[in-house]
Symmetry: C2
């Protein structure tokens, strides 16, 4: 058997769709992420993968805190767009969005969110283009019941695209 | 706002279902994992979370190689069971399973698999009960087209349970 990488193989992996936010002093930002997972149960820890080019990466790197909002299946593309395809360096992503301040100070997006989780960075891995941030959960809350938006649903039903900064970007 | 952790919030995160295998010399093993994600696109890297109690963890720790098989939606519970709820220390999990040897030497489970990916460990984080292994993809292959099995489908349609060693275990 010879070695070869077929990138179509990666497309079979399953993900949800989330907004990851952070804050450094008065600056807040957030972005769409498909790679957020619970990594341990005891103590509860979450990992998120963030592109180094993104403002959210700079904020987490400085403040060591982040929050995750789990989006509901009925989240419209118009809501996702600014968080996924615009930079917080150019626009205020929170201008038209419902959110509240968490115990860490991170903005917790409650619009179209099933639940919110806040974490303090416990460890990280430098992946070159991205960083894995692993955080100890310090606060979590269910906003409402409902079906979570999956990455598959986003692509198949909402016809959503992946931005080039996504860890799973494959040119489409 | 006061700090409180509601573990129901974590249940809204989405995952797939995979078999992660490894090999150390003549010993091979594999186990069910819901936490496998692509973490970068360039170069392609995958992360898996493995419980330290599991034989697969011991094999990856020694050999620094692992493989991931993405399961199809129609995978029966009877196939998943031995990989998820039994230890390779007690049974030969591969006795009745179709697999082939990959370029790394890892067994690549092709039964009920949409695709297989092999990786060499690039870095890791000790999470206490679990380890995140991040691997450089060295080989990947699409086995067939189809819908991937998601963790949600496994719980809702197959009425599958989570073993205590899962990173997302919550007592149910």
């Amino acid at each position: 058997m010879s070695s070869a990488i077929d990138r179509r193989a990666f497309r079979d992996l399953s993900y949800g769709l989330y907004i990851v936010t952070s804050r450094d002093q008065e600056k807040i930002n957030g972005q769409i992420v498909n790679t957020a997972i619970q990594v341990t149960s005891d103590p509860p820890r979450l990992a998120v993968i963030i592109n180094k080019k993104n403002l959210t990466h700079a904020l987490i790197t400085k403040s060591r805190i982040f929050a995750v909002s789990v989006l509901e299946e009925s989240t419209p593309l118009t809501f996702i767009g600014p968080f996924g395809f615009r930079s917080g360096r150019d626009i205020d992503k929170f201008a038209k969005v419902l959110f509240k301040e968490g115990v860490t100070g991170c903005p917790l997006v409650t619009d179209h969110a099933l639940s919110v989780v806040e974490a303090k960075v416990f460890d990280q891995i430098d992946l070159g283009t991205h960083t894995i941030f692993v955080g100890d959960v310090v606060n979590s809350e269910v906003i409402k019941d409902g079906r979570p938006l999956t990455y598959q649903y986003y692509h198949e039903n909402l016809k959503g695209k992946s931005p080039p900064n996504a860890p799973t970007y494959s040119g489409t």
